[in-house]
Symmetry: C2
DNA sequence: GCAATTATCTGACTAAAGTCAGATAATGCT
DNA sequence: AGCATTATCTGACTTTAGTCAGATAATTGC
């Protein structure tokens, strides 16, 4: 009865009925679940109809009708896409925003209620993070973003916070050579963010220089997403980006207080080299030749 | 973004889409979800129609039609209840058993696949147990069972195993005064099992004696269900049973190697008394006067 | 024995979700 | 320019789920 498979299945059943309760709470606002899900997808920033359709797994006919329904209720407006008038973008009206906020309140108080009902709060949260990361691991999307975008800035803030926790002497961004955002955008470089659902859980920057190589900077993976091979995926993707930019030589610096990083570099073809900059924080330097 | 509520909501989303995938896998056998759920409920041993209806939250008309459908497929048979011909009991035919086994295989391989895909196996399982217990805490059912039933015997085995882990000198049931099953059944006593879903997660026995008191024996709560106040619930329920049996004085023995048990007794009106038996294991003895 | 109650079933609905074959209009490609 | 492709929409379905008012038959309580 306590074999691993039974335990997983008990979890599945528990969660299935909890999800059922969650779904029916959405019905509290007198709208069928399908329409509520579309409204929420729009509220969470998805604007292109095709994207929403894919995300929710809906047929195009059904999607279209759900949108008409929301339009009739005065909750959303659709417009032609600026660059491609076949595609449509949808946005919330003022009424729609209010309605979306009501759904958000419902979800938030549901979550709050769950936490309040249970005593082992931190243990539960850690368990939830772990399971959420495990469940969504093959839906982690790596996307090139502007390093000044919200998601990128969130990752960088978490990265700096972690460095200051882990470096004995703390970490002050202003003392480090802060790469200019321009150097981490095409065509000079690139910045890649890993998103799990709507949560940024990792990043890495590729910084172009004028010295015949590019640098890897700001490799970070969220604590709840470690052990999923995400660091490797981010690095692979960066090398790909470098190749596409015609870059043949990569360098990076790191610190021996981050042993898992050094370990990753050593096992993926990086070669330790002498110090190549005067940044005060790093004490380890690597180089990798790419291009087959 | 990492505030507790967002973390709970991210978990909810992850789990919602995983459950969606689980549900659609059930559709792989070409049967609508409703019918599949009824078939599975029957396969898992529920035989009375009313019970299944309550468990799945179905309308009686709908339930009836789903059953007719399964009958037409040759998967189930219904008969009148032996003691009350208004009620109907339903059972699987041979074909039905095969079909149910196919669903079981699907569920098992789904669970197996999840475990195989992830590296932190033990951490994941512990996280799942914790969350499942938290989610189902208000659906934990306490029922009086025969101490020789499967669920009761499972609890007792777990209880003995735990004692032998926690007692320095180990634990051998045969050395302990093993209460006769008859003493823990009405009208002499009672045995109560806590069920979370289909998993027994706790038990307690009320053992009648001929000395003017009854004894509480075998109080056990599964590790994954601790911290939910289940021990207290089990004790309250036992006192209720004792009252209904006209018992006014309760005694119990325990061991100081189980501090959480002693703690529970001390805070719920039990009074420490001198040794009242010659069982080799206990070193702490309590008594409680009940009846208002 | 008989009225009230209980468990299940049937018929006649509605609502929601999903499917699919075109229709329409914009865009890409040569 | 003209044809294939793409994104969305519409109409005409089907299936599933769910509701509700009786009908039927067994049982309980007096």
């Amino acid at each position: 009865m306590l074999d691993p498979i039974s335990r997983v299945r008990r979890f599945n059943r528990a969660v299935t009925s909890a999800v059922g309760a969650l779904d029916t709470s959405f019905l509290g606002r007198g709208r069928p679940l399908g329409a509520a899900r579309v409204l929420n997808a729009i509220g969470h920033g998805r604007s292109e109809i095709g994207e929403i359709r894919d995300y929710l797994g809906l047929d195009s006919g059904l999607m279209s009708r759900l949108l008409r329904g929301l339009e009739d209720e005065g909750l959303v407006e659709t417009h032609a896409h600026e660059e491609d008038a076949r595609r449509r973008v949808v946005s919330l009206t003022r009424t729609g925003k209010r309605e979306f906020a009501a759904y958000e309140d419902l979800s938030n108080s549901q979550a709050e209620g769950f936490l309040a009902r249970n005593s082992q709060r931190e243990a539960l949260l850690a368990a939830m993070d772990l399971i959420a990361s495990a469940l969504t691991r093959d839906r982690i999307a790596l996307t090139e973003l502007d390093p000044r975008s919200d998601a990128a800035r969130y990752c960088l803030a978490e990265y700096y916070a972690e460095l200051s926790r882990r470096f004995k002497q703390g970490f002050d961004v202003s003392l480090s050579r802060d790469p200019d955002a321009k150097d981490m955008r095409r065509p000079r470089g690139s910045f890649i963010v890993a998103m799990s659902d709507t949560l940024p859980i990792g990043c890495v920057g590729l910084k172009g220089t004028d010295h015949g190589y590019a640098e890897i900077k700001r490799l970070w993976v969220a604590p709840s997403a470690r052990g999923l091979g995400l660091g490797k995926r981010l690095m692979d993707r960066t090398e790909e980006a470098a190749r596409s930019l015609g870059i043949a030589l990569l360098r990076l610096d790191t610190n021996s207080a981050l042993p898992e990083a050094g370990q990753l570099y050593r096992t993926t073809g990086w070669r330790e080299i002498p110090r190549f900059n005067d940044d005060p924080y790093p004490d380890l330097f690597f180089e990798k030749q790419i291009r087959s």
